[in-house]
Symmetry: C2
Subunit: 545 residues, 2 copies
């Protein structure tokens, strides 16, 4: 007779074995390695929680310290490879395969591991795509997660950084997997319950608080006048005519400049209440002036940001917070909102080719993209209209549109550091594809999805291009003094400019001389602190006072 609950039985056996070894639901941190060696089977799929921000660093370190004779052949399925210990598990032979989304800080070591054939990469995903697979074919057998606090029954409080936890725990616990949580504190009563205790099998108090990276903090002092000029063009040339209200910003100084120009430049254009009211965004400190000025009505966040806790708590009309005041973030829901409920995504990239494909991949690093491909794509499953969506849809076709278009904007200076041209004939992604033996080149945003490119030279509206040739010339037409830009067909570019496919600052009524740092609502982190009524508490690395 077939057994139809083998997974349940296997879990029961693991729990019984742990019980025999004296493990209760609460596990002292000294015994975590022993617990992992007890409840992780050879070949298990293991999810180590970690993403752009918080990291289950103690559990990750513990896993990497397990005896590889006992724990091995693991298949790691996790959002981000960020910590050294995330890579150590492969070097030590504990894990052999990985499916993930982003490997920023460890992208070089990852590429070396692939070269040395010590790791098999299943695939590189977007966050939402990986969560989707958690419920289909990459369901974890064991999830090692992190929360801020637990109560004595094992209910978990994530605090502001809920992030990926609900998605990971739900997939694992409801398919007979084992959930182990590290927490910073154990308290009598939690401010709120983020994960119910019966979804958690074991919890431990880690010797140190979990690591959280202030990834979304940009110091206004570093914003250049070229970035300010591009931000002015984005606001006047895109946000205003499309009436962009629901949006997401990528990470970086280019978009930080836009945020800091809302209460000044955008306000002077009469755009308050007209643009940028509703956001899917982490609580960027550079949002503070626009929030304080009443520009921004609502922000739902993927995760939190170090130092923004008290500010968020005091601005519950804007942010999603619990009754305790702290933010409830949720990466799965915010990515969903970014995909389906936002009219615009704007972000930077390292390279753009003549078809408009863009990528941040470089030839010797395997990085992945996290959420950008999801946010930066036109969702064909969207069915609701908006002014922006309809206008872009009309521009994209000659006749009457049957669907709208999401605005996907790439904002770049034509040359990046070391005088490397952003505009290229071929993306490095194709070289990396060959090196990795990957099925597809790691393109961040497909040219078909990009609607506008903003550079210091102007805006190219790719929606209005009617042929691949026009598209190429529109891209060349804003590529400045790069070889790609110099290779333009001047006559054609002039015609595209007449048709407003290309718009220069002067076409938009913007005088580049006015693009000065005086336009920034805050010129320093200290200014942000002042705007916030001293509620924002920047991490020490951002303080010079």
């Amino acid at each position: 007779m077939t057994t139809w609950n083998q997974k349940q039985q296997r879990k029961a056996q693991k729990l019984a074995k742990a019980c025999d070894s004296g493990f209760d639901k609460y596990v002292p941190h000294e015994r975590i390695i022993a617990l992992l060696e007890t409840v992780i089977d050879r070949g298990d799929r293991v999810c180590l929680e970690g993403n752009n921000q918080k990291q289950a660093d103690f559990l990750s370190k513990s896993l990497s310290s397990c005896n590889p004779d006992i724990v091995n052949g693991l298949h790691i399925v996790q959002s981000v490879l960020a910590l050294p210990s995330h890579i150590d598990v492969f070097e030590r032979g504990i894990a052999s395969k990985v499916d993930f989304s982003f490997a920023g800080p460890q992208s070089l070591r990852l590429a070396q591991l692939v070269q040395a054939q010590k790791i098999t990469i299943g695939a590189i995903h977007t966050y939402l795509e990986l969560y989707g697979r958690y419920f289909i074919d990459l369901t974890p057998n064991v999830a090692l997660i992190t929360a801020h606090a637990a109560d004595k029954r094992g209910n978990l409080y994530t605090g502001a950084n809920t992030e990926d936890t609900p998605a990971i725990v739900e997939a694992t616990t409801f398919k007979s997997g084992i959930v182990i949580a590290q927490v910073n504190e154990i308290v009598d009563e939690l401010p709120r319950v983020d994960i119910p205790s019966d979804w958690v099998d074991y919890y431990t108090q880690s010797p140190k608080h979990n690591y959280i990276e202030p990834l979304f903090t940009r110091d206004p002092a570093q914003i250049t006048e070229i970035q300010i000029l591009m931000a002015m063009m984005a606001i006047k040339g895109i946000y205003a005519p499309y009436k962009i209200n629901r949006l997401n910003h990528g990470i970086g100084f280019d978009t930080a400049a836009i945020e800091l120009l809302l209460p000044t430049y955008a306000e002077s254009l009469g755009l308050k209440g007209e643009i940028c009211t509703h956001w899917a965004l982490n609580p960027h400190p550079t949002l503070i002036p626009a929030i304080e000025s009443g520009f921004i009505h609502s922000v739902h966040s993927f995760g939190s940001e170090v130092g923004m806790e008290n500010y968020v708590k005091a601005r519950s009309d804007v942010f999603f917070t619990g009754a305790d005041g702290s933010m409830r973030s949720n990466r799965a829901f915010s990515q969903t909102a970014g995909l389906y409920a936002c009219d615009l995504f704007i972000g930077s990239t390292l390279q753009i080719d003549l078809q408009g494909n863009s990528s941040t991949a470089t030839a010797d690093r395997i990085a992945g993209f996290g959420g950008a491909p999801n946010m930066g794509s036109d969702p064909h499953g969207r069915r609701h209209a908006s002014y922006a969506y309809m206008k872009a849809g009309r521009e994209a076709v000659d006749g009457s549109p049957i669907k709208g278009r999401k605005l996907v904007v790439q904002m770049v200076e034509t040359y990046r550091e070391h005088m490397q041209s952003v505009f290229v004939n071929e993306l490095d992604a194709f070289k990396l594809q060959q090196k990795m033996g990957a099925d597809l080149p790691p393109i961040m945003i497909y040219g078909d999805d990009v609607t506008h490119i903003v550079t210091e030279e102007g805006i190219a509206n790719l929606l209005l291009c009617r042929t691949p040739d026009e598209r190429e010339q529109a891209i060349r037409g804003v590529a400045g003094y790069t070889p790609i830009g110099l290779g333009r067909d001047d006559t054609m570019v002039a015609r595209l400019r007449e048709r407003k496919v290309i718009q220069r600052p002067e076409d938009l009524g913007i005088n580049p001389m006015h693009a000065t740092r005086d336009l920034l609502a805050a010129k320093s982190v200290k200014d942000l602190v002042r705007w916030s009524d001293r509620l924002y508490e920047p991490p020490s690395r951002f303080r010079n006072w």
Copy 2:
């Protein structure tokens, strides 16, 4: 000085007013109308939980019985308009605006309300899109939800039909909204906690159990031999060559036929373990034979299905279940999985035009589409490869692809009931658009996203078409004896058949004479019960024994 927590204050005022009126967290059902009149403000955004299956019917009825002098101008934001009371709130002047996803059973009344200008439709969404907006600009002020049971502290147990609850509650409670739950039972200890009590403000025991519709049950007795022929073509002509492992099926007899052919026809082709192993799907009773035959490894579900409770509990290796044994469904995650983690969506439609656009909209009903546009779209944010995704991507372009393609299959008989041709020159959706004054025609799946059309005449592979003309002839070439089919260019269709753009049953080695009901693994609901070892308990309307 600006107040930044007006929403919190407003909630506190509502709660205080309710407290003054003697309301505790537990509210006797006789007092629910009074509670609603106390905590719902004029113009509030209210989400009434309800979807394809479970309905917060008691709370909906109660809302529709409120005094319109006290409660009015509401903006309803909810998945489905399914119950008479969902429409009553508009007729009685309690609500005036709606944003929703699907209005199947009430689509006629809804159209009449629009005609009578008693309702404003914000937009019609897909489920996931509406959830996204819950976190951006359509956050509910009040959510009226339903669960199976509560404990004395107000923790909720949804049972198998978790469905939309987590998405609704999270958006509402973390933006200072009020959550009110109706439950069937109040118990001392819950089998598990699905929603923590501190996310819930009030709960009541409804006088009757909440309504649940067995929407996904198809009686095998009603499957025709034409449907069996089409199912054979889908299996041999699509599932096998693309090695479809991760998939979603639409609702209907066409796809039920595929499910019932897996253990017979597909097994005879040696496809067990090769196709259909991982699903995003409700627990269709017609899946039972394939599960029992070992075809299916995993199923994650949007919601549950009446009568499948004990079967699901006994098959926890396949389904996502809690420690208590009952299913944990989740519409948001399953839709995410359907979008990003599945290689194929296959479903039926009422009309297909010559561009391949399809719709179930008819001119006098405003129905919406629920999840189909989401599942039936090519996700440009996907970055992981699979055999199916890559093969489809290569077919779609002449050169080397930079992205793959999701398979989106429409499966229809050329004529539907009343001898109406499925293939049309213009979709009724365009007429409905005019009547509604909508921005866009309610197209269910865009022609650009459709990869294959299966009819009794054959399979058209639209990926292989290189021009709009070829595409039109490929569609005409499987449109049978409909006027559209008869209007084909025979020479061109013959050429498309040579190139395997069109494949007839004989091209696939399928003899239509073999398409008999003998191939069905179960020929009746009673057969399904037998296959299930009597664990499946069909609702009485499906029993004739």
